[in-house]
């Protein structure tokens, strides 16, 4: 029943996401230049949404890990694994686009300040999660679930780091104070990225379910 409803929603959401991504370049191009940074500030429209997805994936991974730890439900563990992979991919996007923006805006590719360092550490936690799942052997699920919780706990710390410490990175308030001409394309890109996140997570969870089914069938074949 749940699988059927997911299948029904998948195609309309896929079409909507494709439409949003198709229109995104037009919206970004029509957005005005920022007064001090100029053209390079347009990286913002994909950079920040990629971090939104990374934070969401970290949250799903952490919650999945917690549910697996406390209830032992395998589905939750599969969700956590799928979300961890998304956290790494979208975090990598943010970690690459950020320095490209920073090179022009700050004059350097990287600064070891609170925001950039904590974001890198959080990304490395999810890389460690995936490595642990791949090479950790039997029982690594529980240890990686704890790691997922630790990764999720990093999210508010990374998000608020720009407000708590002095960093070169813009504060969180820039998003809330965006002018409508900049706010609309930003909202479009954020929605497109979040829709992409839902779609890719659904596909990735399906893959994990299929793998679990294959393992189950092999075990029954051996019996």
């Amino acid at each position: 029943m749940r699988t059927q409803s997911v299948k029904k929603l998948f195609v309309p959401l896929l079409i909507l996401t494709a439409a949003m991504f198709a229109y995104a370049p037009v919206a970004i191009q029509n957005a005005p230049y920022e007064s001090t940074m100029g053209l390079v500030q347009k990286i913002f429209y994909f950079h920040v949404p990629s971090w939104f997805v990374m934070f969401s994936a970290a949250g799903v991974c952490g919650i999945g890990g917690a549910v697996y730890l406390f209830t032992g439900r395998k589905e939750a563990d599969r969700f956590a694994l799928a979300a961890a992979e998304l956290a790494v991919v979208f975090g990598l996007m943010g970690l690459i686009t950020g320095p490209l923006w920073g090179r022009k805006a700050w004059g350097v590719w990287w600064q070891w300040d609170a925001r950039l360092t904590s974001a890198l550490v959080m990304w490395l936690v999810f890389v460690a999660y995936l490595l642990l799942r791949k090479y950790g052997g039997v029982g690594s699920e529980k240890l990686s679930a704890v790691l997922a919780l630790f990764g999720m706990a990093n999210v508010p710390f990374v998000y608020l780091s720009v407000n708590l410490w002095r960093t070169v990175h813009p504060k969180t308030s820039v998003v809330m104070t965006l002018q409508p001409d900049m706010g609309r394309p930003f909202l479009l890109c954020s929605l497109a990225f979040m829709a992409l996140f839902v779609l890719v997570l659904a596909a990735r969870v399906r893959l994990e379910n299929m793998r679990a089914k294959v393992d189950e069938l092999y075990l029954s074949l051996e019996d």
């Binding site: 994909f46 490209l100 090179r103 893959l207 069938l217």
Partner: protein, 93 residues
């Protein structure tokens, strides 16, 4: 007279030293703000390649990741049909 010549030579040496020292000083930058038009061209970093690279990286990662999921799902489907076929064969026996 000789004392005067010595003094003149000393003054000349000091003068030469002073001129040499001044000639070796780097040009002092002007004080205050400098208009952007007077900044040398090589100091300016073009933004367009950075923006193009950033968006290209995002699209490459998205399509690369989608392709990898599609490939893994196709492999899992093959494995699933293979194990189902073997299981059906084992049950017939």
């Amino acid at each position: 007279m000789r004392k005067g010549i010595r003094f003149a030579v000393l003054l000349a040496c000091l003068g030469i030293l002073a001129v040499t020292a001044l000639a070796q000083q780097p040009p002092q930058p002007p004080e205050g703000f400098v208009p952007a038009a007077s900044v040398q061209g090589q100091e300016k970093l073009p933004a367009a390649p950075l923006v193009i690279t950033a968006y290209s990286v995002v699209w490459l990662l998205v399509f690369g990741y989608l392709w990898s999921i599609w490939r893994r799902i196709a492999r899992a489907e093959r494995d699933l049909s293979e194990v189902s076929r073997r299981l059906a064969g084992a049950q017939r026996r």
